[in-house]
């Protein structure tokens, strides 16, 4: 039962944080020490991994292509699917990062009666992933209202658009609904698809449960078990201005949320979540398919001493001539 262990780990963290949120010493640990340690781990770990990737060897251009390569001027090339210059690469990368274009091509193989193998298109993963990632970004940016004083105009604007349904008070935010739905779908597909369940690992479930835990505690705090926002803002502001304070009025549920977020940040650089940085450094995506148009020299090629035919002919010129063999120069 692969999903059970990560589930219990997350539940244990929630339990510990809930207990810890009620004692003065552990509140200090969870509210101040842990967030600083987590964000430091995140920043250093993230930078370390990106720098490590930057130093890896790149001997060839290895883009994956799925369109006509640029060849003769009268053959139309697909400049996004098979980019031959920087403009194409940038467009392709932007569409991949912002719209998850490769997931849009996702297909599903089924064996139908006959038996016959059938490939059908399957856009649900693309939709779920897009909904989840964009909601997460909006939610993250919305949280700036707690970290920044005065609150930037774009954060308030984002909140207004997000809550434009005007349901209840505090107003229902669309991203809150979308992110839960998307996460539950992403979890559900790992449970229900046999092949997917087979290849799903501990880390796949751990990340999903962790994110669900964060989202659910956040929603509980906003709509159901209210916390003192003024205290939360004081704590958040104190952390980013390096003058940490621990307001007394903030309840244990907030500490569960904060602990899970800290766990996410600390776990980030060590996990598959690093695809956030990795997508920019994917050689199969960020290189132009111009191997035939430009010479790419392998960076670790050492200078090879060569003896060309021309030089050889020069050296044995007289002997070749005397034996009556043809010479290229004459």
């Amino acid at each position: 039962m692969k999903p059970l262990v990560p589930l219990f780990v997350i539940l244990a963290v929630i339990g510990l944080a809930y207990g810890g949120g009620q004692l003065a010493d552990t509140r200090y640990l969870l509210g101040i020490v842990l967030p600083y340690a987590a964000i430091a781990t995140f920043l250093l770990g993230f930078s370390y991994r990106v720098i490590r990737w930057a130093h890896s060897a790149l001997p060839f251009h290895i883009p994956t292509t799925c369109g006509q390569q640029k060849t003769l001027p009268w053959i139309r090339s697909s400049w996004i699917e098979n980019p031959h210059n920087k403009r194409g690469v940038l467009t392709r990368m932007a569409l991949e990062i912002l719209l998850f274009r490769s997931l849009f091509r996702n297909s599903r193989a089924q064996i139908e009666e006959g038996p016959r193998l059938l490939y059908t298109e399957n856009k649900w993963l693309w939709l779920g992933a897009l909904a989840f990632h964009w909601s997460l970004l909006v939610i993250l940016l919305r949280h700036l209202r707690l970290f920044v004083e005065p609150v930037p105009r774009f954060v308030i604007g984002m909140d207004t658009i997000d809550g434009f349904l005007q349901i209840g008070a505090p107003q229902l935010l669309i991203t809150d609904v979308v992110v839960v739905a998307a996460l539950l779908y992403l979890l559900k597909r790992r449970f229900t698809d046999r092949r997917l369940r087979y290849i799903s690992l501990y880390t796949d479930y751990f990340a999903l449960f962790l994110l669900l835990g964060i989202v659910i505690t956040g929603i509980l705090m906003r709509y159901f078990f209210k916390v003192d926002l003024e205290g939360v803002k004081q704590l958040a502001l104190g952390l980013v201005t390096f003058s940490p304070t621990l307001p007394a009025a903030v309840g244990p549920l907030f500490f569960v949320h904060l602990t899970l977020v800290s766990l996410l940040f600390a776990y980030f650089p060590y996990s598959k979540l690093m695809h956030m940085g990795g997508i920019f450094l994917s050689p199969t995506r960020n290189l132009a398919n111009d191997s035939r148009r430009q010479r790419h020299v392998n960076p670790w090629n050492y200078p090879v001493k060569v003896h060309t035919y021309q030089e050889w002919e020069e050296e044995f010129h007289d002997k070749i001539k005397n034996s009556g063999l043809p010479l290229e120069k004459e």
Partner: protein
């Protein structure tokens, strides 16, 4: 070498973005000092305990609105037995000032201006009007 420039440039941009709250607060000299709220001079106790009002006043206001408008129930018996009129301008805003109480905290935590003010008027702006 050009790739390194892209990668390190991107990483730097990311780090600057992530630390946005840190340098933005440094620029604006933000402190953890919460806003000073002007407390009512004429009353000692709100319609519910302070802890409750601090976190859940929006729920109370919505409940008042629903029960008054839908069920024609305008009386609210508070936790200490005192009976209040369920009126936003007539009860709440008689003690609290929009500008010096509501708005200060709402602006501080970035809880955007609710749509209370689409219908209700701040009585301070209309002198002599009956609530």
């Amino acid at each position: 070498m050009r790739e390194k420039l892209w990668i390190y440039g991107g990483l730097l941009l990311f780090l600057v973005g992530v630390t946005f709250p840190v340098w933005r607060d440094a620029i604006t000299h933000a402190t953890t000092q919460p806003p000073a709220l002007e407390m009512p001079a004429n009353q000692k106790q709100c319609v519910a305990p302070t802890d409750y009002m601090l976190t859940s006043h929006m729920k109370l206001l919505m409940d008042w609105r629903t029960s008054a408008v839908r069920d024609n129930n305008w009386k609210y018996t508070s936790f200490n037995g005192k009976v209040y009129q369920k009126r936003f301008s007539g009860t709440c805003l008689q003690c609290h000032s929009k500008a010096k109480f509501c708005d200060r905290c709402h602006t501080y935590v970035g809880a955007r201006t609710p749509y209370c003010w689409n219908c209700h008027v701040d009585p301070a702006l209309v002198k002599g009007a009956t609530p």
